[in-house]
Amino acid sequence: MDTEASPFESSEMLATFLTSTPLLSMSWSLCDRANTMPSQGFVAEQMGSVGHLAFSGVQLGSGPDPTSGRNLEPLVTATNGLFFPLEHQFDGEEGGGEEEGKEPVLVHAGFLRIFLSVKSNPNFQNRMLNMIQNSKSIVIAGHGIGGTVAGLCALWLLSYLQSISSNISVLCITFGSPLLGNESLSRAILREGWSGNFCHVVSKHDVFPRLFFAPLAPLNPQLHSLLQFWQLSMTSPPLALLAEKLLDEGKSQIFRTVLASLEGLAKAEQGKNVTCGFWPFGNYFFCSEDGAICNDNATFIVKMMHSLLLNSSPSCSIEDHLKYGYYVEKASLQVLTKTSFPPAELPESSYEAGVALALQSSGIACQDESVARPAKNCLKLARRMGRTPNLNCANLAIKLSKITPYRAEIEWYKATCDQSDAQMGYYDSFKQRGASKRDFKVNMNRYKLARFWDNVINMLDNNDLPRDFHRRAKWVNGSQFYMLLVEPLDIAEYYRTGMHRKKGHYISNGRERRYKIFERWWKERPIKEEEKKTRSTFASSPKTHVFGPEWRKLESG
């Protein structure tokens, strides 16, 4: 009922659910096929009402150079509105004043170039169009670099489907993919409610998903041979042996650099801004020999990447990138069997036991205190206190119905003032109010309502509410009704207490943020055909409140 955290740790259960479905193995087999056919760039397949798409991890020709000095570029300017929902800022403040100082959404320039070139390919466009017409849901996958292309493709598809109000489901599954963009990208995806559409599979040691946490410029040549080695291993294994020799020295240099950078990030205190430019988004599915866990908390993901790499070695971290087929197959059998666990170590509390089991599945042995303890702590940090946006919204509706009586009392106050012999109206009555019990109560109600609506705005700011919240009639009308009724009282209070002498005119200096937002909701509300019918008379409440805005102007005169 309340926002209590669940007494169970379920990241492992979520991973089990995903593993029990055919999605992972299906996506992997397509990725595998795409890798062996690099000239195509992608493979597509329709299975009933599910469309499958996989991008090759081997990119020929104008391959990206992950090492080029400045490799992040703004998504907006480069793509001409392809990803418009990610550009859109509706965080309440008009003009986006609060966004100042925050980075725009940035993505890796090289990966974006690959995606744009695939997208302009007529063959791809046809397949895509076909898929959208014939599918209820679409899975987009990719291995390594293919995963970043899959990520961009999914973002584009989600944007496109939103623009045509389609309800096709999209799921992006990547295997060992490097990071794609910055923290603003991650935040924009959260804001759009898309984080549940991305699942990045990362094996215990694979260095590729961790690579971009480190400054890479100094390692340029080594990285070149690393990429070459991986690509050859996928296409022609005999040649890969040669490439491996070239790589030998580089291996440990890369490993050490990545580990050191991750160390710095993981040790950074919460809230402190240690940035590496890139940042994870969506869910991460960490798999090991012993099972898997799935979580979408970015801080947890970064710390986990660090913890898991601690017990690795340079060659492990490079070979693991090529072992996803093995992990996927292993996991799908493993979930059907019990994994044994040294019973003496299992804590009694359900939650603690769940955490211990989750860590075991991710491949961190509990015996290894120095690694296990920080991992445990950060899994606990990732414990969700909140609920899903839809649940929050439903709870908010309950709260709304509980505070509505306060609003009704103000309405009544207004009605009695309007009718009283003094003919003063509720604005002036409230402004000149004495110490009566009734005046006190109205003022209290005003505060309670303000607290409720400020909380609504606060939740919106934190992405705790559905993204179309501000377009839902219940809330647009409710907030408008509230504003028309109560804002005059706020204005009365403003001038009663002489705030205008200190701060200046109400509209420009004293108006609460919530009213500006509600006014915008009302202006931007979707208007249905039937609402355009004119009413025979105005219903009592809206009619009498149209003067709301007038009060503000009157006082300034």
């Binding site: 479905t21 799935c294 769940g354």
Partner: protein, 600 residues
């Protein structure tokens, strides 16, 4: 823990279980010849109806991937989620088979004779394998047909062995709400594949299933099919259902969970009634919590290691055929654990915990890992949470009564004026505003209850509780007219549409359905919203053709007043309804005189 016998806990004598088992195995022989077999147990008053199975695929699945269809509410009026009006779904193939039996007049006659027998015959429905679902549907039909009209009649029993799952979550919910769940006892061997098969879409096993059914038909252990693939497919699908359910009951809020549900077909079927798992070493484990049973359907068959696969897969087929021998041993040993009595939410997680030795032994016998035990804990925790939610809601009943008392007072006062409907609609006095505040406060409480029902946060029994049905009806009768008055006062009908079609809140629809179900009414009980009809008719005034409708409404109003569900104040001078009647010259000349006399 003091040991309770199977008989005391389940309310079934061991002989009945044995007899049911042997009869239901024997009945298979009459498949194709007879629809059912009725047999009296010697020297007692039980009459056993047993249903044969079938080994043809079309009797297991029809239609889409899980072959579910809505139940026929004429036949099974209780199988729904009342307030939210959600109808239970059931496996269509099973329903077809049952309907064929019901069409057989001999069956109805024989059951009817048993019911009317003076010697209080206990009717027992039973079936093994596909006979199980038919026995379950027959028992539900019996309960609807005989027990609901007359709860004093002897309730039936339903005992199944290795039965596939029949219906969805709503079916199990409805049986628990009606307090019928206890009459259903399902025996399941630890590895028997059949009860788990219902969690797999037909499309993924069709070929293999044919072979498996042939194997069951031949009953010879020589006739080997390669069962490993089949077992793995069934278990994997079972795991999808079970792990998805576990994420939900553990409170996982990750959006990925929602996304994934759009990509995989999850079986709608859920276990119902009591489950008795046979561990395979002559012990029995009894469990009733439906979420826990679902988890056990997967975890009791989980492999210990990959190497076990061939043996377990084979066992999963053989177990389906060995109920008779196994049960005989189990009933002799009488080693029974009732898991629900052991605080599911705090079950021991590992084998060596010695505190509650009995439950630990049972968990070990079922082969449950720590992860499986955590799922059982979550199921137990959820049930506990639902109970405490209910307690919190029960405490609010006082607030509701207070609010209703105040509004009743308001209503009485308004009888001296135009009646409370119109007084509220005009809303010019302090009392009117206070009534509005009361109305809104009550709406807040009820909306919360409805929201909890929607999210399944209350115990299944909630909607069957008389106190809540009664106060819901009272609430609806007193307060709904105010909501209607408010609706038409603000002219919401002009941009939203008529109240009944577009504006009626769920809290009234829901409480109305509670009453209709509890009193088995065939007509809608719309006494609380006649004002909406009156308003709509007023809006059409000037149109002479509506006179008939006004007349009809008046007759219904008079009947409601006679039945005491509506007050006479609706006829008060100056009320919306009175004006409507006057306009169509339908007013009884005596009406007002009488009422005014009694109130002034």
């Amino acid at each position: 823990m003091a040991s309770v016998s199977l008989r005391e806990n389940l309310g079934i004598r061991e002989e009945v279980i044995k007899k049911a088992c042997s009869v239901s195995m024997k009945t298979h022989k009459s498949a194709g010849k007879q629809l059912y077999v009725a047999e009296k147990i010697r020297n007692s008053h039980e009459l056993v109806f047993s249903f044969p199975g079938s080994w043809s695929l079309s009797d297991w699945f029809i239609g889409s991937s899980f072959g579910e269809v809505n139940v026929d509410l004429e036949l099974f009026p209780s199988l729904k989620y009342i307030g939210l009006n959600q109808i239970a779904t059931v496996n269509g193939a099973f329903l077809n088979r049952f309907n064929a039996i019901l069409d057989n007049t001999q069956f109805k006659k024989e059951v009817g004779t048993a019911v009317t027998d003076r010697k209080q015959v206990q009717v027992v429905f039973t079936g093994h394998s596909l006979g199980g679902p038919i026995a379950i549907l027959a028992a539900i039909w019996f309960l609807e047909e005989y027990i609901r009209p007359d709860p004093k009649k002897m309730a039936p029993l339903c005992v199944t062995f290795g039965s596939p799952l029949v219906g969805d979550r709503i079916m199990s919910h409805a049986l628990r709400r009606e307090n019928w769940s206890r009459y259903f006892v399902n025996f399941v061997m630890r590895y028997d594949i059949v009860p788990r098969m219902s969690l797999t879409p037909l499309s993924s096993v069709e070929q293999q299933l044919r072979q498996v059914l042939n194997f069951f038909k031949a009953r010879s252990q020589e006739n080997v099919v390669e069962p490993s693939d089949f077992f793995v497919t069934v278990m994997r699908n079972a795991l999808s259902v079970v792990s998805h359910a576990a994420c939900k009951i553990m409170g996982n809020t990750n959006l990925l969970l929602e996304t994934l549900s759009n990509f995989v077909e999850l079986s709608p079927y859920r276990p119902l009634g009591t489950y008795v798992f046979c561990t395979g070493n002559e012990k029995l484990v009894v469990i009733r919590n439906p979420d826990a049973v679902l988890q056990l359907l997967f975890y009791t068959s989980q492999l210990s290691s990959e190497g076990d696969l061939p043996a377990v897969a084979r066992r999963s087929l053989i177990d389906h055929l060995s109920y008779k021998d196994e049960l005989e041993e189990c009933l002799k040993m009488q080693s029974v654990t009732f898991l629900d009595d052991h605080h599911l939410e705090a079950l021991p997680l590992s084998d060596d915990a010695s505190a509650t030795a009995e439950s630990n032994m049972a968990l070990k016998d079922l082969g449950l890992s720590a992860r499986a035990r955590l799922c059982l804990r979550a199921a137990g925790q959820l049930e506990k949470q639902k109970k405490s939610n209910q307690q919190a809601i029960d405490k609010k009943m006082e607030d509701i009564k207070n609010g209703l008392g105040k509004l009743q007072g308001y209503k009485d006062k308004c009888k001296h004026k135009v009646g409370y409907y119109d007084a509220f609609k005009i809303s010019e006095d302090k009392e009117d505003f206070e009534a509005n505040v009361n109305r809104l406060q009550l709406a807040g409480i009820w909306d919360e209850i409805i929201e909890m029902l929607k999210r399944n946060e209350l115990p299944d029994e909630f909607e069957g509780r008389k106190a809540w049905i009664d106060i819901g009806t009272q609430y609806r009768r007193i307060v709904e007219p105010l909501d209607i008055a408010n609706y038409y006062r603000h002219l919401k009908n002009e941009d939203t549409g008529p109240y009944m079609e577009r504006g009626r809140p769920k809290r009234y629809k829901c409480t109305q359905r509670w009453r209709e179900h509890a009193e088995r009414m065939s007509n809608e009980s719309l006494e609380s919203c006649f004002w909406a009809e009156a308003e709509e008719l007023c809006n059409k005034s000037g149109n002479p053709s509506i006179r008939d409708r006004v007349l009809q409404l008046k007759r219904r109003v008079e009947e409601w007043i006679r039945n005491g569900v509506l007050d006479e104040d609706v006829f008060l001078n100056g009320s919306t309804f009175e004006k409507l009647l006057t306009e169509h010259s339908l007013k009884n000349s005596d009406q007002n005189v009488v009422f005014q006399g009694s109130w002034s």
